[in-house]
């Protein structure tokens, strides 16, 4: 990766059709993120943070400009290449956890490794390690409906981290959690960022999350309003 750049966007614009007209969700976004950052896209609802996160996560493509993630231009990737990028290098954490309800904690965390075709013994070790990071080794046989919201989000973090991706994209990860659980999972992610040098990019408007971010990218009406490199003020 050039100069340790993990994400680079150039004049990134995203427009959605709205009836006969178009809605511009992102406009001329120029952004660079370096490996190991713990940053966030901050802004109110409709500011374009989730859209930007989705494009960086190769779940969507830009209308104009480009998003280069780990030296790959997302807009030019085929569906198969985009899937490979997500499978090998990206981890996702969602507001609503998005765990598979009929699978156990172990199986949920194991899923990305199955896609990467790790052996059974490797998978077992890696899943235990990931659950150890989030402190859930005692819940491996439980299913999501048996867990609290905080525990579910920790499982989601373990699932995102288990393959040790280069980049984790977290969309409003604390929106459904109380303050104690929010701090708990943010501390977990911060620890993983420090220990594994994984890059974290959040989309949030939660003050608790913002307090942990080392770089804050403020979005307003689809454009970058300001970028702050803040000292940790949690």
């Amino acid at each position: 990766m050039q100069n340790n750049l993990i994400i680079k966007t150039e004049k990134l614009t995203k427009r959605f059709p709205m009836g006969k007209s178009e809605f511009t969700a992102l406009k001329d976004i120029d952004l660079e993120l370096i490996t190991g950052e713990f940053s966030g896209l901050i802004g109110p609802s409709g500011s374009g943070k989730t859209t930007l996160l989705n494009i960086i996560g190769s779940l969507d493509s830009p209308t104009e400009g480009q998003a280069i993630v780990m030296d790959q231009s997302v807009g030019q990737l085929s569906a198969k290449e985009a899937a490979r990028l997500r499978k090998q290098s990206l981890g996702f954490i969602f507001q609503t956890y998005n765990l598979l309800q009929v699978h156990t904690v172990f199986e949920n965390v194991e899923l990305p490794l199955l896609l990467l075709k790790y052996s059974s013994s490797e998978r077992k070790k890696m899943v235990y390690d990931a659950l150890d990071w989030v402190g859930l080794t005692d819940k491996i046989k439980q299913k999501p409906p048996q867990l609290s919201g905080g525990e579910c989000q920790r499982v989601a973090i373990a699932r995102a981290m288990v393959k040790k991706p280069s980049l984790v994209l977290a969309d409003e990860p604390t929106a459904n959690l109380d303050a104690a659980n929010s701090h708990n999972i943010l501390q977990t992610m911060e620890k993983l960022n420090e220990e594994l040098k994984t890059t974290f990019l959040f989309a949030t408007h939660d003050e608790k999350v913002i307090a942990y971010l080392k770089r804050k990218i403020y979005l307003r009406d689809g454009m970058i309003d300001k970028i702050e490199t803040a000292k940790n003020d949690k």
Binding site: G57, L59, L100, V102, P112
Partner: protein, 391 residues
């Protein structure tokens, strides 16, 4: 594929009651298709077996003018048995039968019959012709139970029988019923009287002649000979095969309706799944699945209903089918009502081909109805799917 199967199995089991309802309905289809088809296979097997044993052996030669559906051809359809068949006849591997029209007068009623002459010592056919080898004042005769019932005849009865000889002259004599046999083959029973071949040949003034020649060895290469037309085993059973084929179509409608009901339930489940599980679909894509992969996963999930149904069907179906094969099914009709070989109790027969064929049919049908709604996933926007937004 292995991953898709693993995930699909987990998802199916996790879906609980809904899965089991679909699986049970589909398993009914499995068991009923096999049971119904088993009856037809059993019928086919039993009919061919009975016909082989009672009437056609391994095949027949017919006199070229003989038409079993036209009794008037009998006057002309006879000829001396060719000498080339003598060794086979002497070894008991070929049985000549001479036929003519006649009339009997049981209790003073006039009844048209078919008189058939056969060697009393033959063992090729199951007919109890040994009972013709009896010295009595009249001509010894054996008849089938249907003939006995409809003509109100019993063993030991004397009846007057009339016929026309080769010159067209009417003649008459008494016959004596020495045996009554029970068979599922109406074409050797209904309105027929079996008497010794020698007697009939001398009655008709046709020494050494026959109408049909039934042989034992089906495998031996044969061809038409002079006035004699070869009728292979397959040609002789073609009527019953046609009939069973017709029956098969009728019964297929029954199980196709059941199968459609089961497939509709699976289709409905698949459609609902795709709406209800959008977030899950989005998650799979976010984790690195391609959309095609997710379509495959959902298709495997649907198709797996058929595999589970086969297993569930096996649990209760195997004991049921074994019991059914032993007990059989009574159709409540006599073979004479149908006019061809049919046992009153039908015993189903299940072949490996039948079971494999049914499994493949249900599996393919289930896969198609599972794939159909799953194609919608390929058009899904993953970012909206992740939010669980209906598309």
């Amino acid at each position: 594929m292995k991953l898709a199967i693993k995930l699909a199995f987990k998802n199916l089991i996790g879906a609980g009651l809904r899965t089991w309802l679909n699986v049970i309905v589909l398993s009914f289809s499995f068991v009923i298709i096999i049971a119904v088809k088993g009856i037809l296979v059993g019928w086919d097997r039993q009919a061919k077996n009975d016909m082989t044993e009672w009437e056609i052996g391994g095949g027949q030669y017919w006199h070229e003018d003989y038409d079993p559906y036209d009794a008037f051809t009998l006057e002309e359809s006879h000829a001396p048995v060719p000498g080339e068949f003598t060794p086979e006849i002497e070894q008991g591997d070929m049985v000549p039968v001479l036929m003519t029209r006649g009339t009997i007068y049981p209790q003073g009623r006039m009844q048209s019959i078919l008189i058939k002459g056969i060697d009393p010592e033959q063992t090729l056919l199951k007919l109890p012709t040994n009972k013709l080898d009896t010295a009595v004042a009249a001509i010894p005769a054996v008849i089938g139970s249907n003939m006995a019932k409809t003509k109100k005849l019993e063993i030991g009865d004397y009846i007057t029988m009339r016929w026309r000889d080769a010159n067209g002259t009417f003649d008459a004599a008494d016959i004596f019923i020495t045996g009554i046999f029970t068979t599922n083959v109406p074409t050797v029973d209904v309105s027929q009287v079996w008497i010794p071949l020698d007697s009939l040949q001398s009655m008709l003034l046709m020494p050494g002649e026959a109408t049909t020649l039934t042989f034992r060895n089906r495998e031996k290469a044969r061809q038409d000979t002079g006035e004699w037309k070869l009728m292979t085993f397959d040609e002789l059973v073609s009527d019953i095969e046609e009939m069973i084929k017709t029956k098969s179509v009728g019964q297929s409608i029954f199980y196709i309706i059941l199968l459609i009901l089961a497939l509709l339930a699976i289709f409905d489940t698949q459609v609902l799944s795709i709406f209800r599980r959008q977030k899950e679909i989005g998650t799979y894509i976010a984790l690195g699945y391609t959309r095609r992969g997710v379509v495959g996963l959902f298709t495997v999930e649907g198709a797996m209903h058929a595999i589970l149904a086969a297993l569930v069907g096996a649990v209760y179906g195997i004991p049921f089918l074994i019991w059914f094969a032993n007990k059989g099914i009574s159709l409540g009709v006599s073979s004479a009502d149908y006019g061809f070989a049919m046992a009153e109790t039908m015993y189903p027969a299940y072949s490996l081909g039948l079971i494999a064929g049914t499994t493949i049919l249900v599996l393919v049908a289930t896969t198609i109805v599972s794939y159909w709604p799953s194609r919608k996933i390929a058009k899904m926007n993953p970012t909206e799917a992740l939010r669980g937004k209906l598309q």
